[in-house]
Symmetry: C3
Subunit: 206 residues, 3 copies
């Protein structure tokens, strides 16, 4: 129950981030809906393909699609207001990442994956949707760029894996792990934490 | 039988569109063949992965590959003539979209998917090849851009789903549904139908 | 045993090529690791998804990830030296392509695929990682560009398939086939072999 509420919060968050990116790229209303759906459902479909769940959960249950399409439409209709809420959107995106990475790990454990595989598949599930969004808009995915993104998702997955190994109850562990991911992402955005970049290679006599 | 003929028409159409796009991007003959194959086979492979059909049908039966490679080679050899037939290519591309979206839905129903999942997987199958083509050439996929594309595919999928629910014979229903998709696409190209674009956000004192 | 040694050589080679490409694109240390992992593991994950192996082998066995991450970190730390070794990197990339295309074919045969499907899946496995790397960095994939790439991979796959049909032992056949791929790639780089490009279409009175 707790997991379901969190999962739909994550869907709404990712759908909003995809739809906003589509509005900024001046796509039409169908493009906004398609990108909202792809961003929100992409990570979960990837997770189900890696786990061998056929067809993917989100293609078998209509509320997934309905919630994402409604979110994208609301963003399309009211985007100037939403754009001013850029901070809220970043919070929502962080929430989506946290929920998907941790709930994906729990789902993979329930599907019989080992703790190691479950952590990797959960992290992939959290990262996947945003990567597809950026690829479709021809941007280098956020996960490859400056901010701490993959590390935050992996931390959440590992928290769930540790909780599973200690036989703690899955629901509360997932909530706490998602909160950890959101906190790392927000701190990284707020403090402009970045990882080191390789120093330029010596390529001339300069 | 009707389905097989339609499916190979769709393969030829998508292979031609991928090969032409590759010629325009000045790729060599192998690039033209690879992009023709990817465009024509991509949607069906995605469909089979989502349905859990391993290995995908088109990687088990050589006529799929042979027809697509031959089409790409013919396009490479005779492309100036084909380029003048731009209108014919757009018709063929619309035919490919229609056939793949509707035949994909029928295939998914035959594989045991629910009507809801089958419509989504069929639509994905129709859209997938062209999206891969555009991604590989670093273009924003057609499905996200101005023309009515995903809606046409979805309409065809839903026609097949309704026919299935009414227990109509699958072959004729697929032909009619494919014709509906092609008609929508051609009308949208001919009349320059476009969906509304979000109005620009107020971002300054202008 | 021979296969395992070759496979890890291939992982190191592809991880290095992805990490170097990430350093060139000025990604941070996490981006370098993520791109190294994606390049090295992408082809194998694609192969396992097409074969229906869930979860993919590389997500179940930690040495895969550890070797790739260590390679990427070493590239990040010592990249100026590595950049000067551009020739060595191209050799390694060719080795990776050869090993993955041929070992992927052998793996697919062992998983019960027909010779035809195994050759295609093996070739895809060899090409896949580099294609994902180029897509994430917004470059047109190498496999679509000037050099003989897909043909080299396919030649190696077909060698393995012929060896399987003649009931030759899989280990030595894979080594020989991988050597064939590497030789073709190195000759093509050394002699600047390229495939013909389509002549420009007549588009004006010039």
């Amino acid at each position: 129950m707790v997991l379901t509420v969190l999962e739909f919060l994550g869907l709404v968050a990712f759908a909003a981030s995809g739809a906003l990116a589509a509005v900024r790229a001046r796509l039409d209303v169908f493009g906004v809906i398609v990108l909202g759906l792809t961003t929100a459902l992409g990570g979960g479909i990837l997770r189900d393909v890696l786990l061998g769940i056929h067809p993917p959960t989100s293609l078998r249950n209509w509320p997934y699609l309905a919630v994402c399409a409604a979110t994208a439409l609301i963003v399309f209709a009211f985007h100037p207001q939403v754009a001013r809420l850029r901070r809220a959107v970043l919070v929502a995106d962080a929430l989506g990442l946290g929920v998907f990475a941790t709930a994906g790990t729990t789902l993979a454990l329930n599907a019989g994956a080992t703790v190691y595989a479950a952590c990797l598949i959960g992290m992939t599930s959290g990262i996947g949707g945003g990567a597809v969004r950026d690829l479709l808009l021809r941007e280098i995915p956020l996960v490859l760029r400056k901010e701490i993104y993959a590390v935050a998702a992996l931390t959440g997955s590992v928290c769930v894996g540790v909780g599973h190994a200690l036989r703690l109850p899955a629901g509360p562990v997932t909530v706490v792990a998602a909160a950890v991911v959101v906190t790392i992402r927000m701190l990284s955005l707020w403090r402009h934490w970045n990882a080191p970049v390789a120093r330029p290679a010596d390529e001339g006599p300069s």
